[in-house]
């Protein structure tokens, strides 16, 4: 037995993971961009030059002005203004905030529901497994966007309704992934050892089985947050997502769309660029995490 003398302090798997992550420059940049955008979204009310919701501050005189226009409020609209006369930069920052909020919320709820269902199905077996996994398979057999469309059409507009629609469309991916990981972990000795102690089934599932299914779930979570952001943008673009009072990036693009042909490109393009940067950054981070966690790509 080659004794690799352990380092002085406990290096947790997280520390080791981060050490390896840092070696990929583009992924590190993407992570920095993602974190920056999240921070900007969180602090949007402090950063944005204008509060786009404050109707009193808006003037229709300023509507659809190009980037660099000095508005009636006295300050320069760096990215121009939108059809309501809002400062586009401020609108994008607030839109980003809403998009990320919805994406993360939907992703987190879908993760919690999906992972629990998948792990429980794998652990319990029998008819519980059959029931859960058949529903999941059925749902995975048609596109998520279709389900999200139907759901938001049924539920109507609003943040809670939109999140529900997104969760309904996406939990199945988490359930599948968790089920796959848990069925292979379930057979390992450490689960048997925990059950032989004996530990309560609930503890074995949530304290031993679930944490060991985390790597693939983290990968799916990053990808799914990106995809719920774009799904939300799609729904909002189609006018099904949020009410007009809460403009997300998708709605900003939609708002500007009629003016594309008349040369007022910025109203649609800048929110679009922001959306692309956000989704790309999250996906690059997700790719790197997947590469690091996939045992087949290692060694």
């Amino acid at each position: 037995m080659t004794d690799i003398s352990p380092p002085q302090r406990a290096t947790s798997p997280v520390t080791l993971f981060w050490r390896e992550f840092r070696r990929n420059r583009p992924a590190t940049v993407a992570l920095a961009v993602t974190l920056l955008l999240f921070l900007v979204a969180i602090f949007a009310p402090l950063i944005a030059p204008q509060n786009p919701y404050d109707l009193a501050g808006l003037s229709l005189m300023d509507a659809r002005r190009p980037p660099g226009f000095v508005g009636s409020g006295g300050y320069t609209h760096l990215l121009g203004t939108d059809p309501q006369g809002r400062d586009l930069l401020s609108a994008i920052l607030f839109g980003l905030r809403i998009s990320i909020e919805i994406g993360v919320m939907a992703g987190a709820i879908a993760l919690a529901i999906g992972a629990t269902l998948g792990v429980v199905a794998a652990y319990a077996g029998g008819w519980i497994e059959s029931l859960i996994m058949r529903i999941v398979d059925l749902q995975l057999s048609f596109p998520a966007i279709l389900l999200a469309l139907v759901m938001s059409a049924l539920l109507g507009q609003g943040k809670a309704q939109l999140v529900t629609a997104l969760v309904a469309a996406q939990y199945a991916y988490f359930a599948r992934t968790a089920y796959g990981a848990a069925t292979s972990e379930r057979r390992k000795d450490y689960i048997e050892a925990a059950l032989a102690t004996p530990l309560h089934a609930r503890r074995v599932v949530f304290k031993h089985l679930l944490p060991n299914c985390a790597p693939p779930l983290i990968v799916v979570a990053t990808v799914q947050i990106a995809s719920s952001i774009s799904l939300e943008a799609t729904l909002s673009f189609l006018g099904l997502g949020l009410p007009v009072t809460e403009p997300s990036l998708g709605m900003l693009i939609s708002n500007g769309f009629p003016y594309m042909m008349s040369g007022r490109y910025w109203i649609s393009v800048y929110p679009g660029v922001m959306l692309i940067i956000l989704i790309m950054a999250i996906n690059i981070v997700g790719d790197q995490i997947r590469d690091q966690l996939n045992p087949r790509l290692r060694r």
Binding site: M1, D3, P7, G125, K188, D189, A193, A196, L199
Partner: protein, 343 residues
């Protein structure tokens, strides 16, 4: 028998693993009225007793069911029929393990520790949840066990991947013993370790067994290890116990032709005066446990086999004081072994 001799009592235990059928297969089976038995009889009708404080060695080759029997004793698998009792109480009830008095050490220390849990937490988990130690005292309790198994207590904050195989097996032993078991099941605990590490772990086992007055079941394919650590030994072949008795007697004068043949196939280092050790291999392959031969399962490979052996499975029956064997010719075998042993 005195109850003292029946500390561990295994009564007619069988285990059949049936494959999980999906809906389509179930329909197909119903439609074709297929009555062919499904499943693998891993352990069939095993009965044995083990007195308190003794170690039972469980030996056999792959597919013999020794690991499955170990899991039945440990309360990991539920017997398809029969019952396992420890100190008069059943180990399992309604498919759930009801006692903490049986603990298990598994073969592969790389698989038996949760890779995402600090080893100290893994050792503390069971005792804390079962109220053997107060959460506030867990840390010192764990450190105490680390010291007893020969590990630096300060290592308890590390993760399993930071330890070597031998160290991990020590942790696995600490985890089992921290539950303060009466019966310890060791399933091939040294099979994946190097020779020099193997000796360290066996010594640790011998030491702790004495200190804690443990009753043990020691499962191994390695006959020399079993001979070294066990008081009694059970030899298994294709799900059945073919011979049971005191270790020295079984090894010196085997009553079952399979035991004799198995002992002859083990290479050993030549003793003084011997040139190379010649050994006689057993003819043929181990049959598939999915489709075992009729009668005595060993008959197709057995030099003594007659028509009676394929027609009628010999039961495990007493052949000498405190010795049982499942062979129609056990008395002959025993007589011959005796003459050979004297010679």
């Amino acid at each position: 028998m005195k109850p003292r001799d029946q500390y561990l009592k295994v009564e007619g235990v069988s285990k059949i693993f049936s494959p999980r059928l999906n809906l389509g297969e179930k329909i197909a089976r119903t439609l074709t009225r297929s009555a062919a038995p499904l499943g693998l009889q891993a352990v069939s009708d095993v009965s044995l007793r083990l007195p308190r404080g003794q170690t039972l060695g469980l030996v056999g080759e792959s597919g013999c069911g020794k690991s499955t029997l170990g899991r039945l004793l440990a309360g990991i698998h539920e017997p398809s029929s029969g019952e396992v009792r420890l100190d008069g109480l059943p180990v399992m009830e309604h498919g759930k393990k009801t006692t903490t008095a049986v603990q298990t050490v598994f073969q592969d220390p790389f698989a038996s520790l949760d890779p995402r849990m600090k080893v100290g937490d893994a050792v503390a988990e069971g005792p804390v949840l079962h109220g053997l130690v107060a959460p506030a005292r867990a840390q010192s309790y764990v450190e105490g066990w680390f010291r007893r198994v020969g590990l630096d207590p300060s290592l308890s904050h590390r993760y399993p991947h930071q330890f070597s195989g031998g160290q991990r097996q020590r942790i696995a032993i600490a985890r089992a013993l921290a539950m303060q078991p009466k019966l310890l099941i060791c399933d091939e605990p040294v099979a994946s370790l190097d020779v020099s590490i193997q000796a360290q772990v066996i010594n640790l086992f011998l030491e702790l067994r004495r200190e804690l007055e443990l009753t043990c079941v020691f499962i191994s394919h390695d006959l020399s290890v079993v001979r070294h650590v066990s008081d009694r030994v059970a030899v298994m072949y294709l799900g059945r116990i073919v011979e049971l008795g005191e270790t020295a007697q079984v090894f010196d004068r085997p009553a079952h032709p399979y035991t004799a043949a198995l002992l002859d196939s083990v290479p050993r280092i030549a003793a003084e005066g011997e040139a190379l050790v010649e050994f006689k291999p057993i003819e043929g392959e181990i049959p598939s446990p999915l489709n075992p031969p009729p009668g005595c399962h060993f008959a197709p490979r057995c030099p003594r086999a007659t028509a009676r052996c394929t027609a009628e499975a010999p039961p495990l029956a007493p052949v000498a004081p405190a010795r049982e064997a499942a062979c129609h010719f056990a008395p002959d075998q025993l007589r011959e072994a005796a003459t050979r042993h004297v010679a």
